[in-house]
């Protein structure tokens, strides 16, 4: 019997299970897009059939990092930019956990950018939600990696001389196998995309547009939005890298021209996840490694028996 009985517990899941019994007062401002992520995530969980004790949610620092204060699951609120390396090791240690990571645009595209590239490259089977509000919110409105060129703030008084990062294109180039953009103003699409991302066997990156009414744009700046899957103006093959790349280029550029494009941008189902690759070459045990520590009958190798001969 598994030491982790929450895992694979086949029962009906109610989304309310993901709301803490006593809800802490939210630190998010009224009208904040972060509420939209929380709601969509809670709604997606019953659809993917996961219960709170088998979900591990890893966050970074910033307003987005408060997500696991309001989401009832195992949570690890890590340090700025480092949610991905903590999360992916938990997935390797116990592949049966549902691992989700979340952070802001500064967290994921700035300070943690290198981790995003490598986690995507390795194609870990997990979901990464980036709360993209195009600003540093919690530290009071500084220019972020996704702020538009010319963005003025107290730390960029003459307007930013930098072009914004291209998060979707970068993720595609790095190797992510599910890439989408959604927005807090579009809760139904957000829920569907989160559910798909969780069910995807590989690294799923969701760039989630979350309005910051206090320091940046409010919700009305993100409407109207276009779902590229629903629109006749955009016709591209989701599994074709070149077509996806072109769709992403337009999506990234149009955001700064005031046109909000959302939807699935790239889906690659054939590529094995990192865990599958590691098992294939014999560098990862078939059974979840964490289980072994809780199995009283487990046998543990001894270096005296296995390795000392070479030194005699």
């Amino acid at each position: 019997m598994s030491a982790f009985s929450a895992i694979g517990d086949e029962r009906e899941i109610d989304r309310d299970e993901f709301t803490p019994g006593i809800e802490p007062q939210a630190t998010w401002c009224p009208g904040c897009g972060d509420f939209g992520v929380l709601k969509a995530l809670k709604q997606a969980m019953p659809e993917v059939g996961r219960n709170p004790d088998e979900v591990a949610l890893f966050t970074g620092i910033g307003c987005s990092g408060k997500l696991n204060s309001y989401f009832n699951s195992y949570g690890f609120h890590t340090i700025h930019g480092r949610s991905l390396p903590v999360a992916r090791a938990a997935k390797l240690a116990n592949p049966e956990l549902e691992v989700i990571a979340a952070g802001g645009d500064g967290d994921g595209y700035g300070i943690g950018g290198n981790h995003l590239i490598h986690t995507a490259r390795e194609n870990h089977d997990m979901t990464y939600i980036v709360f993209n509000n195009e600003i540093f919110g919690l530290t009071k409105g500084q220019t972020s990696p996704t702020s538009p060129k010319g963005h003025k703030s107290k730390t960029q008084p003459h307007g930013s001389a930098k072009s914004p990062i291209r998060p979707l294109s970068q993720s595609l180039n790095a190797g992510a196998t599910y890439i989408a953009r959604t927005a807090a103003v579009n809760p139904n699409q957000a829920k569907e995309i989160i559910a798909e991302a969780i069910e995807h066997d590989g690294f799923a990156h969701i760039d989630f547009l979350t309005q910051c009414p206090t320091w940046n744009k409010d919700a009305k700046h993100y409407v109207p939005y276009t779902d590229v899957q629903q629109s006749d103006d955009y016709d591209f093959d989701l599994s074709d890298r070149a077509e996806a790349a072109e769709m992403m280029r337009q999506t990234e550029e149009k955001l700064y021209e005031g046109e909000v494009l959302t939807g699935r941008m790239y889906v690659e189902d054939a590529r094995p996840s990192y865990g599958q690759e590691k098992r294939q070459i014999g560098e990862m045990p078939e059974e979840p490694l964490a289980e072994r520590y809780f199995d009283e009958d487990a046998e543990w190798e001894r270096t005296y028996d296995n390795l000392l001969e070479h030194h005699k």
């Binding site: 009985s5 929450a6 006593i22 088998e54 390396p85 090791a89 296995n306």
Partner: protein, 632 residues
């Protein structure tokens, strides 16, 4: 004067097979019944540059490098690109022959490859004159010629072994057996032929010298291995099945050894994008229930500062190893130093709550790495094993029985699902993972692991209340700070009862003391023996517990001596500073002998340093520094 120990130095360029040849030489001598110890010196480059290894062999356990050497096998640097004396790095090809001339003992043997080194060049360095002055026996041999006759030029090193065996009258049987074990086919045959031909050629020269390689036999089966091996094996025997890292000298050795063995041990090794990720991965694996480690050397460890603090705050057990090399910054990548002590003790913001052990030798590398895992997982605290390039690479024999220990894979203070059902929960549904006052009266609040039913909690780097929720309430703050820091007192008591990490040496009633830590310990012990032979009254204490510091043990020992010399390999007397900070007194009793030129102490240097310190004389050697006690 007859030397009844052998200190054989093989010198060449990186790529000449110096390392592997010396390993085989040491292993063969161990198999023949001798005790051996190796000292490695190499530059930070892939090809060329002066590399040497000394193999010291005696009929009793060897605990240190020796003073100089009495046999030099100078192969010359076959990768040297610049033969000019005026070149930036000097006359590279010849360096392995002349660079450390002075350290060859009187009456020593100097065997060099005249097949590579030009006769005119050798004349220029005035070898003959120096040999005459010091009574050296100079033996030019065409090792390259012998190697090429049967195989490839690289086999010069095998030729060197054959010639060494003939000159020292060592039976070649053990060398032959190693060649047969390690090689096959044409390669094996060629090497055996080279070995024999070189032996015959050297035997014909009939060199008369005063080195007597002793005879000995071992009472029990011996093994020869490095500190990196011992650290890795300690981790594996303690159930560590996850390592994450990024290559950096000298830590790479442990990372490599673990990566080689983890798959067959059912574990996982991850080479990742940087050291921040490396430490973060170890945390993630541990959080999910696996015994995990990471590590690096100075600069890479600096990147681990923030994850290390996160481990302290979230009480996530991890073991980190720090292989020190000479700093600051990139420093001297392949040279040992003990200058990262303060770095590992205090790096990361806020008040430190971590455990730091500094093993002194291969034996301690194994036992203290095991202690580090046990303490980390029982007390939910990061534990660091700090060692250096010296221990990392030096080989030493010890009885195989030292490793005949049972494994311990216990994940420590973790609850079972049944226990979680009984445990305290917050009305929100969260498991109370960070109780102010854990039920058993200890300061450790047991954890749950993701996937366990009803065990969910929030781990956060913010200050938090018992269920993990972020809290800035002053009373909660004090309660959590005190519990986390008080774990160090519990650990101190545990170590005092169970560990015995400190090592006492020399006559108990001695007047003078030598206080030492980490890799310099055993060299200091050899110096203590010589000082007592010279008529001094000296004992030594080797300290391994850097945090929590063994206040009682060290105080008691310091009370028992008039004064103590603190010997360490850094420029700012970091361990002496730690000792004074922890003990709050004895400043007037502690003086320092420091060395930071990239080479570890030789026993004779400590003897000299001690003698000039008690005689109040200026230190003769320029490669060390003496710092007097406060008030002197």
């Amino acid at each position: 004067m007859t030397d009844n120990e052998l200190i054989w130095r093989i010198a060449g360029g990186s790529g000449d097979g110096i390392d592997s040849t010396s390993q085989n030489f040491a292993k063969a001598l161990m198999r023949s019944g001798l005790h051996v110890f190796t000292h490695r010196h190499y530059p930070s480059r892939i090809r060329g540059g002066h590399t040497y290894v000394e193999v010291r062999a005696k009929d009793e356990p060897v605990q240190s490098r020796g003073d100089g050497y009495n046999f030099l096998l100078a192969l010359g640097d076959s990768f040297a690109r610049n033969p000019q004396e005026e070149a930036y790095y000097g006359k590279e090809e010849l360096k392995p022959l002349y660079e450390n001339f002075d350290d060859l003992r009187e009456g020593g043997v100097l065997l060099y490859d005249e097949g590579l080194l030009d006769e005119e060049d050798v004349e220029e360095i005035e070898l003959e004159e120096a040999a005459e002055e010091n009574g050296w026996h100079v033996v030019p041999m065409d090792l390259r010629g012998i190697a090429k006759e049967h195989g490839r030029e690289i086999m010069r090193n095998t030729a060197g072994i054959g010639a060494t065996a003939a000159i020292l009258d060592i039976d070649t049987a053990e060398f032959e057996q190693l060649i047969e074990q390690n090689m096959s086919g044409d390669m094996q045959e060629a090497n055996l032929n080279v070995l024999h031909d070189a032996y015959e050629a050297a035997a014909d020269l009939d060199i008369d010298h005063d080195i007597e390689v002793p005879d000995n036999s071992h009472d029990e089966e011996q093994v020869i291995l490095s500190g990196s091996n011992a650290i890795s094996y300690g981790a594996l025997d303690e159930g560590c099945r996850f390592i994450s890292g990024y290559p950096m000298t000298p830590w790479t050795d442990v990372f490599t050894i673990m990566s080689q063995h983890l798959p067959e041990f059912g574990g996982i090794s991850e080479q990742v994008e940087d050291e921040i990720a490396a430490a973060a991965l170890a945390l993630g694996a541990s959080h999910a229930g696996v015994k995990a480690m990471s590590g690096s050397s100075g600069g890479g460890f600096a990147l681990m500062s923030e994850p290390l603090g996160l481990a302290e705050m979230t009480e996530t057990p991890i073991v980190l190893v720090e292989a020190m090399r000479a700093g600051p910054s990139t420093g001297m990548p392949t040279k040992p130093e003990q200058a990262d002590l303060e770095h590992v003790l205090y790096t990361s913001q806020g008040d430190s709550a971590r455990v730091v052990f500094a093993p002194a030798n291969i034996r301690e590398c194994y036992t203290q790495t095991r202690s580090a895992f046990r303490i980390a997982y029982e007390y939910q605290i990061p534990a660091i094993v700090v060692y250096d390039q010296k221990i990392q690479g030096e080989l030493r024999n010890l009885p195989a029985s030292h490793f005949d220990e049972e494994p311990n894979a216990d994940p420590g203070s973790v609850l079972t699902e049944e226990e979680i059902q009984e445990a305290a929960h917050h009305p929100s549904g969260k498991f109370q993972r960070f109780l102010h006052e854990p039920e058993d009266g200890s300061n450790v609040s047991p954890r749950s692991v993701p996937g366990q039913k009803d065990g969910r909690y929030l781990a956060t780097g913010n200050e938090h209340n018992p269920s993990g929720h972020i809290s800035e309430d002053p009373e909660n703050r004090i309660a959590q700070m005190e519990r986390r820091l008080n774990k160090l007192d519990d650990i101190r008591a545990d170590l005092d009862e169970n560990a015995g990490h400190q090592t006492y040496y020399g006559p108990e009633d001695a007047d003078h003391g030598i206080l030492v830590w980490g890799s310099q310990q055993d060299t200091a012990f050899e110096a203590v023996d010589r000082l007592n032979e010279n008529g001094h009254s000296v004992k030594a204490l080797g300290v391994s517990d850097m945090m929590p510091y063994p206040v009682e043990e060290v105080s008691e020992w310091l009370e028992s001596v008039d004064e103590a010399l603190v010997v360490e390999m850094n420029a700012t007397a970091q361990f002496r500073g730690l000792t004074q900070k922890e003990l709050g007194k004895y400043g007037e009793k502690l003086s320092s002998l420091l060395k930071y030129n990239g080479n570890p102490f030789e026993p004779a240097e400590i003897v000299d340093g001690f003698e000039s310190s008690i005689d109040g004389e200026e230190l003769a050697a320029s490669n060390m520094k003496f710092v007097p006690a406060a008030g002197d």
